[in-house]
Symmetry: C2
Subunit: 504 residues, 2 copies
């Protein structure tokens, strides 16, 4: 790496190995790291820290940290530290298989909170002092400010609040990222808060780089490594059909005058289905769309390239290796159309409500009355976490949840009598889509919602059983506002646990 | 009534009887009325409409309306129309016993949504056209604008959107209300929305009266009647103890530097416990407090009088007859310290987050993991509705839920293995208080929350059973992140249905 990525001389003097940097982190510390959906996380120090922890454990010495990030990271961070049994507490979102296994075994403490709440709850003092921040950047400018890499997440908060800071400068990240970021420095604690001066989703309201007191920076580590960059999976038939139902609905809403022709800013979860929706929008003749979202996937790059999407605002990326190549090759083009923000801004309730975002998120299951479970399998095993879905579902113009109607070879129905865990209440869900069809729940009573879901979303394999439950609940329920049979409400889940099939 | 309450001459010419006004409402209409927590609702036209509906029904003619308000009203409105079987659909909140009985019998369609969502969902077109608005005001000014009475609720939206308008001028309401209101006219539909320019809870950002095209006003009716004004119940021992726990916590947070000495703007639900909390704050030496809330109760008047509370922002009142007398007697004093707003502003996520409100709301039950049920008894019978609790719980600085630990002579525990309905998810609940103590759930994992609730909140009668559930769930649950035994999770509720006691 040439020195051009570290233009502030005093920080060049703090260049050390990852091992030397990791040695500055002590057992019991609260460590806040960069990283959001597998982008922009530190690549070297967490691995070195994991080795240090394993060495300590071999000597019988306890060594764990409390770990915070933006959102999910990668095997080099969550995976390595979880395998080393080095995480005492993890917040706010993760998706690593090793960490998940430990969380569900009850040996790793995990706190799953709204992504828009993370920074402010730390500022409020709800999580104590941050000892060390470990943040990947793409460059250090001559004035000492830090050019973020492929995610910002909570980095502003970590750099502001940490007692000491370790910086990884990753020259695998393109230099052309410089100018893509917009770090808002107008946040404050109540009662000093002011309106956030963002009116259009592509407004720039901040600075292109992160401030950090150089005296706090105890180590700088050079890295050269890729983000997680998982391969892109082509959309399957189910995703395509979900996308078709959703796009037909959006077109209908435009026809009815309830949405502008260019829709409203789109928020889109990560995965196969959102990618299919994006591709479907492109084919459907929509133009001049906007994205005010958390994460940019391959599909969004294609829409930007084709002019379907006017701009995309985000806090991180989730690209395939090919998507990343495309991004790097045409970074000057994308820098004009992508604005990267802190996650407290990308997910801010004030902005999501003002802009009128259309939230589109996956789910694990929904129940008859429109309650949605985004996090727990069979009520007790966490999958990943709520992420930002609640920020958009509660405060946006439309909150849409998408899922295939069945899972695990048909042994699980995504539409159940009662969800086994609630992340989005009946008050927060506008539309549910499966490959079977679309349930428009707006302005409906609980029983009317059940009718929509039965008629449009439930898989044929489960329709009779669900109709039977509804009929008996309508007859025998204690109250008839939200009819339930409490002895059966969770029986589908229990039956799956016992027999491997919700129908037994 | 002298003409001084109707200073705009063309509207004096539209003075008619309540019966004549009610005759302008046709079967099948969507009718939007004023009213919030038993204040500022129309007193005469709904009764005349109920009579008209009953007469039609006697002749075998169908006659129902879809009814929207600000929030709950009174027997003269919800009660009369429900008894007449005149309501096909009710939105967004009500607390009338007759209406509740019909809702839970399955014969009255009820849609329970966040109070901050009502106006925008109607503007978005999710509820179709509003045919008639029936709005109580305290006076009509010489320029034709309308001085609201003791609630504003959604009146701005109703007057803007209704095809025709019926105004009730109630001269029982004090003339001194004029100047207390602040009607914000800066709202818009996305993508035209701008920041709401309210920075302090007592900022005035609007106009003192409501605009209404006089050509839409088809009838003006004079009334002279009191608001619901339910008697004030003195705080009981349980409420006093809940208040003590909460106040000790707030003082602790001030000591730790996490809250300013004058706290942050308080939002307080309606009822015995909030009143006890307010009284307790006064006794505890807190000064210069602020209230950014929905409803002003007797307790808040006392705090304003004593200088404990610097101001109170609200959208309605819930006063006892004595409280109302006090309010009228000293209205010039209160007008300097009370700001009445539309409910989309009083409950706006943007403002609740900016101001950092401390939300204090009642609940029906909470579960081990901090999920809160505010609306449903035994999962299926609705009590009232979610009201504005979600607006504050999701977006405020602290979301606090308060309840006695037992109900119905001890046969019901307010802390249960799994709530039978979720209105506030585990991601949205900071603190739970019962007369037993206070559980601080911030920054805790699900299992740590369960420990807090077991140690501090559950009633002794239920402690062993709950400890037993937790121990077995920790051992046998499918996942150990949020341990549950699905065959037992709702068994306490089922046992109460079968035996009248959650323990059997």
């Amino acid at each position: 790496m040439s020195d051009e990525r570290i233009l502030y001389a005093p920080l060049r003097e703090r260049l050390v190995s990852a091992e030397a940097a990791a040695a500055l982190i002590q057992p019991g510390e609260t460590v806040a790291m960069s990283g959001f959906t597998g982008s922009g996380y530190p690549k070297a120090v967490p691995m070195a820290l994991a080795q240090r922890i394993e060495a300590a454990h071999l000597k019988g010495q306890p060594f764990q940290i409390k770990l915070m990030t933006g959102a999910s990271t990668a095997p080099e961070l969550d995976g390595a530290l979880a395998k080393a049994d080095g995480i005492a507490m993890r917040m706010p979102f993760q998706s690593d298989p090793d960490a998940r296994q430990r969380i569900n075994a009850g040996t790793l403490d995990y706190i799953d909170i709204h992504l828009s709440h993370v920074a402010q709850h730390v500022w409020f003092g709800f999580y104590g002092q941050i000892d060390t921040a470990v943040v990947e950047v793409s460059a250090i400018r001559a004035d000492g400010s830090l050019v973020p890499s492929t995610s910002i997440g909570n980095n502003k908060t970590w750099l502001d609040l940490a007692s000491k800071v370790i910086i990884e400068v990753n020259d695998w990240q393109p230099a052309g990222l410089d100018g893509m970021h917009d770090v808002y420095y107008g946040t404050a604690l109540p009662p000093q808060r002011k309106p956030i001066p963002l009116i259009h989703g592509d407004d720039r309201i901040g600075e292109p780089s992160l401030r950090c007191d150089p005296d706090k920076i105890v180590a700088v580590v050079r890295t050269h490594g890729p983000d997680r960059n998982s391969p892109f999976a082509a959309a399957d038939d189910s995703s395509e059909r979900i996308a078709e139902h959703l796009i037909a609905f959006l077109r209908h809403e435009v026809d009815k005058g309830r949405l502008p022709a260019s829709l409203l800013p789109l928020q889109s979860g990560v995965g196969n289905i959102p990618n299919a929706v994006l591709a479907g929008l492109a084919r459907s003749g929509f133009r001049d769309l906007e994205a005010f979202t958390e994460v940019i996937q391959d599909g969004m790059l294609a829409l930007l390239r084709d002019g379907v999407l006017r701009y995309a605002s985000c806090t991180g990326f989730a690209l395939s290796p090919e998507g990343n190549e495309e991004f790097k090759r045409n970074i000057d083009f994308y820098r004009q159309r992508i604005i990267m923000r802190t996650q407290e801004i990308s997910n801010h309730p004030e902005l999501v409500r003002r802009l009128g975002c259309i939230g589109m998120n996956g789910m694990i299951e929904a129940d008859l009355y429109g309650n949605v479970n985004s996090t727990h399998v069979m009520g007790s095993r966490i999958m990943n976490g709520i992420g930002g879905s609640g920020d958009f579902a509660r405060n946006g113009f439309l909150s849409i949840f998408l899922s295939p109607s069945i899972a695990k070879a048909g042994s699980i129905s995504s539409i159940v009598p009662m969800v086994s865990h609630v992340d989005h209440t009946e008050h927060d869900v506008s539309v549910i889509v499966t490959e079977q069809g679309l349930a428009d729940l707006r302005g409906l009573t609980p029983k009317q919602r059940a009718r929509q879901l039965l008629d449009h979303c439930v898989h044929p394999r489960y329709r009779d059983a669900l109709e039977d439950y509804v009929a008996r609940a309508n007859r025998d329920s204690y109250g008839k506002h939200t009819p339930h049979l409490l002895t059966e409400a969770l029986s589908w889940h229990q039956r799956w646990l016992e027999t491997g099939d919700m129908l037994g």
